[in-house]
């Protein structure tokens, strides 16, 4: 139960549509797509020390930089998983303490202590994410909070190692080769380039193939898995990455202030970090920087009212969330636009590109499409079936949803799957695509058994599907939705995404071209930059079909594609589906609209109460008495 999921058609600013469409559009390798903003930030960072005379202000800027690092990591995680960690202070503290202890007590040089600190932090982050990210909801918040408490207790109790509550003094300053980073100004010129570098890398990451997948996970995790994206692995990776940022921050902090104590790393610091992220807009990478700056400076301005800090933070966190859920700063920056409405509003649609009249896109490609006659025009493949389902059984509690159901689909063929409501049709599709585990029975794609595979592995094996209620990504535009379907056709990962390697750029261009081609062939050619919410239901269904086609599956499962469409619209969809058949795809079609089923299906399987009661050509099935009984009841006139 997610209140308001369907209502949030307008994407929050951090995930806005313009943001998405820019993804991968800049061709120059290694150069971040936000290079203008980053350039401005770099200029500001270089200019500030020239203006500022007092070391105190430099120190404040350094603290802002340190907070920004951790908030950056937090925001990456929020954006990708939709979950918040209230334990990042612990990772910050671990980075600080590990490096300090091995540096002072065991006299390790700086570089090995850094590596050990980061190794410990990421290992802890990884271990913590394994159990908690598997779960829905807010367990992560609690688990990270608990982790933070444990870590604080350990810092306090292991006095002979950490110095206990009185702290750990005498940590050496950093040095880079001959450059000893001793003064506040030195540290400023060490820290801020690091912040900008990590910010650039994170922005790049979110603008890459991986970033697209991460945002998809945030919006619809299960659907994303059926697109072949290993969501659990991505979530664990991004959580671990975000703890790494905190670890780096902690390391820098320890070697900057040279004295650390457990108090710095308690839960209140975690709350402060989260408040910074919230004020900047949850998941908004640039906003996090501004949130960190604002909330680091605020207490300094209110120095006389130290006792009010806690209350202030609490009210700030709550107030911003209630009144400006997209963040205080994104709200403020959007103010000028509210006063004068720009004529080129991206949400405004020019009248020439109004949604196409229904059915029109289909007619353009009709010459090669097998129009009406399903049996004769489709290429006949006599080889092995593309997919076979053998003796599948599933039960939910006492309800036998499927009982020993078998079916086969050959390439270039459509099997219609019909039956009254609750017959187990969608359950069958869910088992095949890996969302449900069967009690017994097995599914094969060609000769390969899908037993024990997760949805993403099944998708990678060549299975695509659409959903009964359309599952498109409202936070992204049309193009990105199709690009998600193309995820399996690319290979670049976190590393290539961060650095915008030439290979990743080439791949992104190739995927984009393919996506545009697909959109064109599904009649959505002029819609690539539209937010999905503006599409009609038919267009959303076409988009979902294009996305399923994008991964180049051998088998496609269609769950009530014509549901909710009027006859003309469903005709348009039928044409697309027959085109897919002529391309050699095997399809299973669940549908209630008998005209659609009888027009498309080469064979029909009828389910009732989870068992297969009939199978044959559409004509045979229509005349089967058991089928008639299942749909209409079997009380013939005069028979009791």
């Amino acid at each position: 139960m997610k209140p308001g999921r369907t209502l949030s058609a307008a994407p929050p600013p951090g995930l806005s549509n313009e943001d998405g469409s820019r993804r991968g559009s800049v061709g120059t390798p290694f150069l971040p797509s936000d290079w203008r903003m980053l350039g401005a930030l770099t200029a500001l960072v270089l200019a500030l020390p020239l203006i500022i005379r007092t070391d105190y202000t430099i120190l404040l800027l350094n603290i802002i930089g340190l907070n920004s690092l951790v908030v950056l990591g937090l925001n990456l995680m929020i954006r990708a998983t939709g979950q918040v960690s209230l334990g990042h202070a612990a990772f910050y503290g671990l980075g600080a303490y590990v490096s300090a202890v091995v540096g002072v007590t065991f006299q390790w040089p700086i570089l090995p202590s850094l590596l050990l600190a980061l190794a410990v932090v990421t290992l802890m982050g990884f271990l913590l994410s394994l159990p908690t990210l598997r779960l829905e909801g807010h367990y992560l918040v609690m688990a990270t909070l608990g982790f933070n408490i444990i870590v604080t207790i350990v810092f306090n109790q292991m006095e002979d190692i950490t110095g206990g509550p009185s702290g750990f003094p005498g940590i050496p300053k950093l040095s880079l080769g001959p450059w000893r980073i001793a003064s506040d100004r030195d540290f400023y010129f060490f820290l801020w380039p690091l912040v900008i570098l990590l910010l650039a890398l994170s922005l790049n990451l979110m603008n890459s193939r991986t970033g697209r997948a991460l945002e998809a996970i945030h919006e619809r995790e299960l659907t994303t898995r059926t697109l072949g994206i290993p969501t659990k692995r991505y979530k664990v990776a991004v959580f671990t990455l975000s703890t790494l940022y905190a670890g780096i921050g902690g390391f820098c902090y320890a070697h900057y202030v040279t004295f650390i104590s457990p108090k710095t790393f308690d839960i209140f610091y975690s709350v402060q970090l989260v408040t910074m992220a919230v004020v900047g807009g949850m998941g908004n990478l640039w906003g996090g920087l501004a949130g960190a700056a604002l909330l680091t400076c605020l207490p300094e301005l209110l120095q006389k009212f130290e006792d009010f800090y806690v209350l202030l933070y609490g009210l700030m966190l709550m107030g911003v969330l209630v009144f400006f859920p997209q963040g205080l700063l994104p709200f403020l920056t959007s103010l000028p636009g509210r006063w004068k409405k720009s004529p080129r509003d991206p949400w405004e649609v020019p009248s020439s590109s109004r949604p196409a009249e229904v059915g029109a896109p289909g007619e353009r490609n009709s010459p090669e499409g097998p129009d009406e006659d399903p049996g004769s025009a489709a290429p006949v493949h006599q080889g092995p079936p593309a997919m076979s389902v053998r003796d599948l059984s599933v039960h939910f509690g006492g309800l036998q949803a499927l009982y020993r159901v078998s079916l086969e689909v050959h390439p270039g063929r459509i099997v219609g799957l019909i039956g009254p409501n609750g017959a187990g049709k969608t359950t069958l599709l869910n088992v095949v695509s890996g969302l449900l585990k069967p009690d017994s029975g097995e599914v094969f794609l060609k000769e390969r058994s899908l037993r024990g595979l997760g949805p993403h592995e099944i998708a990678a094996a060549g299975l695509g599907r659409t959903f009964q209620s359309v599952q498109v990504y409202h936070r992204m535009n049309v193009l990105d939705n199709v690009l998600l379907g193309l995820h399996l056709r690319g290979r670049s990962g976190f590393w290539a995404g961060c650095w915008r390697t030439p290979g990743a750029g080439r791949e992104e261009r190739r995927l984009k071209e393919e996506a545009l081609g697909l959109l064109e062939s599904f009649g959505l050619g002029s819609r690539e930059h539209w937010p999905v919410g503006r599409l009609s239901l038919l267009e959303q269904k076409l988009l979902e079909l294009a996305r399923a086609r994008a991964s180049d599956p051998s088998v496609l499962l269609l769950d009530e594609p014509a549901g909710g469409l009027n006859p003309r619209e469903s005709q348009c969809l039928v044409e697309r589906i027959s085109e897919l058949r002529s391309q050699g795809l095997a399809m299973v079609l669940v549908e209630h609209d008998m005209n659609v089923v009888m027009g498309l299906a080469d064979r029909v399987v009828v389910l009732q109460h989870g068992t297969r009661i009939a199978e044959g050509t559409p004509r045979e099935v229509q005349q089967d008495p058991r089928v008639i009984a299942a749909y209409l009841g079997n009380r013939k006139p005069g028979v009791r």
Binding site: Y139, A143, V271, D307, L311, G314, L317, M318
Partner: protein, 294 residues
């Protein structure tokens, strides 16, 4: 001999365990009504104790039962205000925003308490004096008996409420299927507010009962709230019997852990158990696995 300490550890485990159970019940009520984790639950506990202490100081002649009832009502009002105000205003937002709002509320309550009552620890005299009685090698103060007795009373009342009153049945129905409940004319919004009120009152009671044993300060609530949450997870999040069993079990494990392993890491133990349960059996000991649907 270490086994001689067994009864003593067991008694103290049961005592703190029943308090954790009360706190866990508060989480459970709100989880069932809204699907939210209320991070301010620990603050309800702290606030209950603080109001009771303040009431006693302000009007020493007030009889104890009245002090108890007034504090519970006051904290219940805070809970209702939290629901009626910020949460209701944001009800169309995603669940993460709502949960973070309760985090904000919890920090605000802490901050406000600190301003009102300062940073010092406050005490509350134990019920029935402090002369311990001996039960089979265990020294038991009357406060412990009161805690056990009142926890049982609360449980019985809750059971009666849920199973034998129309309002309670409506509440169970609304938790099970809010849309269906709305359709048959139940005002789900009011029931949600009621759930917040009840969990505030439960938290307050736990706070008042625990203060004579440990004292209370503005930042104690967080830890108690987390322990209650750990208990609720241990038993299976959202299940009422699970909350009680989980809370008791956590108290006992903690007491024996502190006695036999290390009292310095007593608080860490609860969270290790929490993480362990999340790792091994996320549905909790008594919970059932939920099926997610598209």
């Amino acid at each position: 001999m270490w086994w001689n300490l067994f009864p003593q550890f067991f008694v103290s485990g049961i005592t703190s365990g029943s308090l954790y159970a009360l706190i866990a019940l508060g989480y459970c009520l709100i989880q069932n009504a809204t699907g939210l984790v209320n991070f301010a639950q620990g603050e309800f506990v702290m606030l209950g104790a603080m109001t009771a202490i303040a009431l006693r100081q302000a009007v020493p002649s007030l009889p104890l039962p009245v002090v108890f009832a007034l504090s519970m009502v006051l904290v219940a009002l805070v809970g209702i205000l939290l629901e009626r105000g910020p949460l209701r205003r944001s009800r169309n937002r995603d669940i993460l925003t709502l949960v973070m709002i309760t985090v904000g509320a919890s920090i605000s309550l802490r901050g406000a308490t600190m301003l009102l009552w300062g940073k010092n620890a406050h005490a509350f005299p134990p019920l029935g004096g402090s002369t311990p009685m001996l039960f089979w090698k265990a020294a038991v103060v009357p406060q412990t008996l009161w805690i056990l007795f009142l926890s049982v009373v609360v449980l019985v009342l809750l059971y009666g409420f849920y199973h034998h009153t129309l309002l309670g049945k409506a509440m169970r129905g609304a938790a099970d299927n809010p849309v269906g409940a709305t359709l048959i004319g139940i005002s789900v919004g009011r029931l949600v507010a009621l759930a917040f009120g009840m969990s505030g009152a439960l938290g307050a009671l736990a706070g008042i009962l625990i203060t004579p044993l440990t004292t209370m300060s503005y930042d104690t609530g967080l830890m108690l709230g987390l322990k209650g949450f750990a208990g609720a997870i241990l038993g299976g999040y959202g299940s009422v019997p699970g909350a009680v069993a989980g809370g008791l079990l956590l108290g006992i494990l903690e007491s024996f852990g502190a006695g036999f392993i290390s009292s310095a890491y007593k608080d860490a133990l609860a969270f290790l158990i929490l993480l362990g349960i999340l790792f091994l059996r996320p549905a909790g000991l008594f919970g059932s696995k939920t099926v997610r649907r598209l």
